[in-house]
C-alpha cells in the first residue's frame, strides 16, 4: 500500500481502473431472452478479454465502434435460428461500412426492428433496388420462413439504416460469459467481489506495474 502511495500516478490509475470497472459492471444490461424463438437475437454488449491495461478497453471499444461505424461492433449470439453457423454464446464482429460494395444478398446482418430493442442476426435473402433505400428481406438459415413476421407492423422490408452491421468475423463460445451474467445476476456480484479483492491485492503488490484483469465487461446500449 505504501509503495503505491509513493507512486501517486500508479495509485491514481488503479483507482480510476476500479471506478471504471465498478461503473461498467453495473452497466451490463440484463437482456431478456427473445419471446420469438425463431430469431437469433444478439446481446449488444461487448465482451473483451485482455491481460493487461484493461482501463484502455472502453477506448478500444469506442475505437472499434468508430472504425466499423457500428454502435455495437461486437455482439453475442443469443438463440439458434442461424444454427449451425452461429450458436448461443458465439461472438460476432460487425462491419457497417460500404467501402467497396453495397450490403448485398447473402450477407449476414444484425438489424433492429422499429420499436423493438432486440437486435437480430439473420441473412439477407432478397434485395430490390440499390443504395440507401433498397428493400431488403432477411431470413434465418435455420428457419423455414423469412422474417416478414418479425418486422414491425406494416413493415415488409428492411432498409439499410435498420442494419447495424454485417458479420465479418467469428469467434465461438467466448461470449457465453455475458449470457451467464445476464441470466444469473448474482454472478455479477460475485465477479465484482473477486475483482475488488484482486484490486486490493494488487494495490498491496508493489512490484506489479501492470494491473491484471482477465475478465472485463463493459455494457453498451444501442441508440
Amino acid at each position: 500500500m505504501l509503495s503505491s502511495l509513493q507512486n501517486p500516478r500508479q495509485a491514481a490509475a488503479q483507482l480510476l481502473n476500479f471506478a471504471l470497472i465498478l461503473s461498467t459492471a453495473f452497466m451490463v444490461r440484463v437482456v431478456a431472452l427473445p419471446t420469438i424463438n425463431a430469431s437469433t437475437s444478439v446481446h449488444n454488449m461487448p465482451f473483451s478479454v485482455c491481460s493487461a491495461d484493461s482501463w484502455r478497453n472502453p477506448q478500444m471499444w469506442k475505437g472499434l465502434s468508430i472504425a466499423a461505424d457500428s454502435p455495437s461492433p461486437i455482439v453475442v449470439v443469443l438463440s439458434g435460428s442461424m444454427e449451425p453457423a452461429f450458436q448461443r454464446g458465439d461472438l460476432l464482429f460487425l462491419w457497417n461500412r460500404n467501402l467497396l460494395a453495397d450490403t448485398d444478398v447473402g450477407e449476414v446482418v444484425v438489424y433492429n426492428v422499429k420499436g423493438k430493442d432486440i437486435p437480430i442476426v439473420h441473412r439477407i435473402v432478397r434485395k430490390f433496388g440499390i443504395g440507401e433505400h433498397a428493400q431488403l428481406l432477411t431470413k434465418g438459415d435455420n428457419n423455414a420462413a423469412d422474417d416478414t413476421e418479425l418486422y414491425a407492423r406494416g413493415q415488409d422490408y428492411l432498409e439499410r439504416k435498420d442494419i447495424i452491421g454485417s458479420v465479418v468475423g467469428y469467434v465461438p463460445f467466448v461470449g457465453y460469459v455475458t449470457i451467464m451474467l445476464s441470466e444469473h445476476p448474482w454472478l455479477k456480484t460475485v465477479m465484482l467481489g473477486i475483482m475488488g479483492l484482486c484490486l486490493n491485492l494488487n494495490l498491496n503488490l508493489s512490484p506489479s506495474p501492470n494491473f491484471n484483469f482477465n475478465l472485463y465487461l463493459y455494457g453498451h446500449k444501442t441508440p
Partner: protein
C-alpha cells in the same frame, strides 16, 4: 508476496493469451488452403403464377417458380477450419422501370447448409439422417465429397416475388451460384469475383440470361413448396 489468487490470475491470463494466439493462427491458416470452386447452373423450367406465394401473404401477386439444374464442385472449400458451407442460388434481374436504369433485383431461390463432418452434430436434422450423414464422411474429418452437388431439375425453395407484385415477362434474368464459408474461428468468406492469391474465383456459376414467361393460368393446384 505472490499468493494463489495472483497465480490463478496469471495462469488464466496466460491461457487466454495462448488461446487467442492459437485461434489467430488457425484463422490465418485459411489463406494457405487453395480454393478452386466451380459450378454450372441452368434453368430447366420457368413459370409465373398469380396467387399467394405464402400462406401468410395478404394479397395475390405474381410469383415465379424457377426449376434449375446445378452441378458444383465446392469440395476445396472444406478445410479443418470449415464449420459449414452455405450454398445459395440467386435469381437476378434488372429493374423494369426505365427511370432507374441501374436498379437490380436479387432473390435467393434455393439454399443449402452443408456441414463439415466436424459440425454434423449441430445440423438441424433427425437422428436417422444424422447417422447417414456421419456415415457418408466415413470417419474422415475433412470429407471432399461434401462439396459436390449435382441437382437435376431441382424445385426452388423460395418463389420469387417483387414489391411491385409484377414479375411476369421479365427479361434478362440470370441465375447465380454463391457460397459463404463459415469458419470455426476467423473471417467469414464469400465467393469472390477476382482471384486472390490461392483463392480462385468461382469458375462459371452464372446461367445464360432467360425470360420469365407470362402468367400461367392456374390449371393445377397451387404449387406447394416442399420445405
Amino acid at each position: 508476496m505472490y499468493n494463489s489468487l495472483t497465480r490463478i490470475q496469471n495462469v488464466f491470463g496466460f491461457f487466454t493469451t495462448i488461446a487467442f494466439v492459437v485461434a489467430a493462427i488457425i484463422a490465418a491458416s485459411d489463406f494457405t488452403a487453395p480454393r478452386t470452386p466451380s459450378a454450372s447452373i441452368k434453368p430447366t423450367n420457368v413459370q409465373v403464377v398469380k396467387g399467394r406465394p405464402h400462406y401468410y401473404s395478404s394479397k395475390k401477386e405474381e410469383y415465379a417458380i424457377i426449376k434449375f439444374s446445378l452441378d458444383a464442385d465446392l469440395s476445396s472449400l472444406f478445410t479443418w477450419n470449415t464449420k459449414q458451407l452455405f450454398v445459395y442460388v440467386t435469381a437476378e434481374w434488372p429493374s423494369t422501370s426505365s427511370s432507374s436504369s441501374n436498379q437490380t433485383n436479387k432473390a435467393v431461390i434455393w439454399d443449402a447448409i452443408i456441414t463439415s463432418p466436424s459440425s454434423d452434430h449441430l445440423a438441424n436434422i433427425g437422428p436417422a439422417t444424422l447417422k447417414k450423414l456421419r456415415k457418408s464422411a466415413g470417419g474422415k474429418s475433412i470429407d471432399p465429397s461434401r462439396g459436390k452437388l449435382s441437382l437435376k431439375n431441382q424445385r426452388p425453395k423460395y418463389q420469387i416475388t417483387h414489391p411491385s407484385g409484377k414479375v411476369a415477362n421479365t427479361d434478362d434474368v440470370t441465375l447465380h451460384v454463391h457460397y459463404n464459408v463459415q469458419p470455426w474461428v476467423g473471417m467469414l468468406t464469400w465467393n469472390q469475383d477476382v482471384d486472390m492469391a490461392l483463392w480462385k474465383r468461382m469458375a462459371a456459376g452464372i446461367s445464360k440470361a432467360f425470360e420469365l414467361p407470362a402468367v400461367k393460368k392456374k390449371d393445377e393446384p397451387k404449387a406447394k413448396s416442399k420445405y
